[in-house]
Symmetry: C2
Subunit: 311 residues, 2 copies
Amino acid sequence: NGANVAAAAPPVVHYYLNNLTTTTDPVTNRETVLILTPLARFYQGYWDNLAALSYPHDLISLGFVIPKGRDGNAANSALQEQIQKVQQGPHKKRFASITVLRQDIENPLQSQSEHERHKLENQKERRAAMAKARNSLLFTTMGPTTSWVLWLDSDIVESPHSLIQDLAAHDKPIITANCYQRYFDKDKNAMSTRAYDYNNWVDSPTAQELAKKMGPDDVLFEGYGSMATYRSLMAYMVGKDGNMDPNREVELDGVGGTALLVKAEVHRDGAMFPPFSFYHLIETEGFAKMARRLGWKSYGLPNYFVYHFNE
Amino acid sequence: NGANVAAAAPPVVHYYLNNLTTTTDPVTNRETVLILTPLARFYQGYWDNLAALSYPHDLISLGFVIPKGRDGNAANSALQEQIQKVQQGPHKKRFASITVLRQDIENPLQSQSEHERHKLENQKERRAAMAKARNSLLFTTMGPTTSWVLWLDSDIVESPHSLIQDLAAHDKPIITANCYQRYFDKDKNAMSTRAYDYNNWVDSPTAQELAKKMGPDDVLFEGYGSMATYRSLMAYMVGKDGNMDPNREVELDGVGGTALLVKAEVHRDGAMFPPFSFYHLIETEGFAKMARRLGWKSYGLPNYFVYHFNE
Ligand SMILES: Nc1nc2c(ncn2[C@@H]2O[C@H](COP(=O)(O)OP(=O)(O)O)[C@@H](O)[C@H]2O)c(=O)[nH]1
Ligand SMILES: Nc1nc2c(ncn2[C@@H]2O[C@H](COP(=O)(O)OP(=O)(O)O)[C@@H](O)[C@H]2O)c(=O)[nH]1
Ligand SMILES: [Mn+2]
Ligand SMILES: [Mn+2]
């Protein structure tokens, strides 16, 4: 009598962390992937690519964290609709499980326009809020059977269907794609692409010097002329030295979170997204630094792309 | 047909963090508590007190993390035996769920004797390993419905049955009992008690000065004559100013993990146990500092006791 046995014995579960592998062939080895997305706005392109991932969906769990308030409600409704379709559709397309976390706070920025989001004076508060959102999602969804965590922003509207396999194949503790953006080039009267995510970088002596002069709570932000760091940005390493190999790897000191694959053991050791100044870094950039302190290195693929929505 | 429905619709679950309360009356408000124990050795006294907790067991989940190797195997066997008994015993005594995590590493110290554990030269490696064990346990067991996390060491062999209610009643983000040890006083030819956990403290200018002179990876440890910090130790605040009130609260800058109640939102924001030098602090003491950076204060109850095993 299965039902009675279940009721009679509350779950006692054993997990052996040394049975949890993270290999270059995670599909064959049936490694579970947790895809985590902080979701302030819903984008259909994001969802379509997620649903089209060629990694076996029964090995994928999804987690979302959505802010309180009107925008959050709208994002949540749009997400629900798509979840319904996929989870009631063909078995092969269904994900193993989905968790939606509604925050008890609103997004700290009134306007979510790209212009407002990227103002320097808004960065510290905004990135701290993002970090807390990522942490609450991570701490509440990662389980004892999670092998990999893929951080994927909701405004990544174009990504390869083999994203997970492609990134995992490099066997790195932390690895990121290069995040670009499509736009209409008026001069050329044609579509083109440009760098979007400046958080993937190799550190510089200038940035180190800037940091030394800062107060303990001050944070260095990348991509602001008023605070030139002279770090080497992965965004600008595309095709460097004539190398267009999508498998080309570079070691990074700071990473962004747009499409970032992390071995779960890195998070399990304690690596999270500092919502405070950590070596004058915050959020995903602070995460790379914290992971490094735990002995884990970060890498990026300058010639392997995902694309950010363009307003 | 319940079974088919379950198979047909993989779990999609919504959680509203603002419905998750942490109040002074957690029993009435049906708040869930996750009790987490890093377990290198099993002690019957620990288990008996756990099983005797008056907090409703259906609101309690247990999580253990056990090192690899012979000692870990022995601790695991002893634990299994007790779990079997409780979870198959009277319904009212059963816990909601139990997770046992086996680490893929051994305890870094060959000998687990109190003497070996407490040698200064062993502290950094030992505390870093403890921190990682705590983090992996926390990151993999905390769920979206956890209101409180109680950290309880496996060698706390005596604790009040109302431990959870007593600590929660103070409505603090982080609060700890005072950890003492019973021993036989040869001079008096009678049993007596003495301070055990020195990690609960109020910071001092001396400690701050010591920290300033340290290298970036160096860590300050409390309770070592060769490194006198002149911090105010909660261990020595018992009955201070004639106040024996068990409800007396003191604000702390560092905490230990022997019997520590934490609101889950503190961890959810990202507060973990740094396995590296964080402001020259590590593990539970580093946790208090990290939580403080996130805006959460720590407190202790100098006149409210739990007792540590005595070898
Ligand atoms: N839960 C949550 N998600 C957010 C918040 N702010 C932004 N996001 C999401 O976090 C990711 C990164 O934020 P975004 O504003 O796109 O950063 P940017 O592209 O660097 O300007 C996106 O997936 C957003 O939808 C927030 O306050 N809470
Ligand atoms: N999982 C795990 N638990 C440990 C390890 N070392 C100690 N513990 C447990 O962690 C808690 C604190 O460690 P303990 O050695 O008692 O610290 P002390 O009392 O301060 O000397 C106890 O519950 C131990 O059983 C370890 O390497 N791994
Ligand atoms: Mn974005
Ligand atoms: Mn102990």
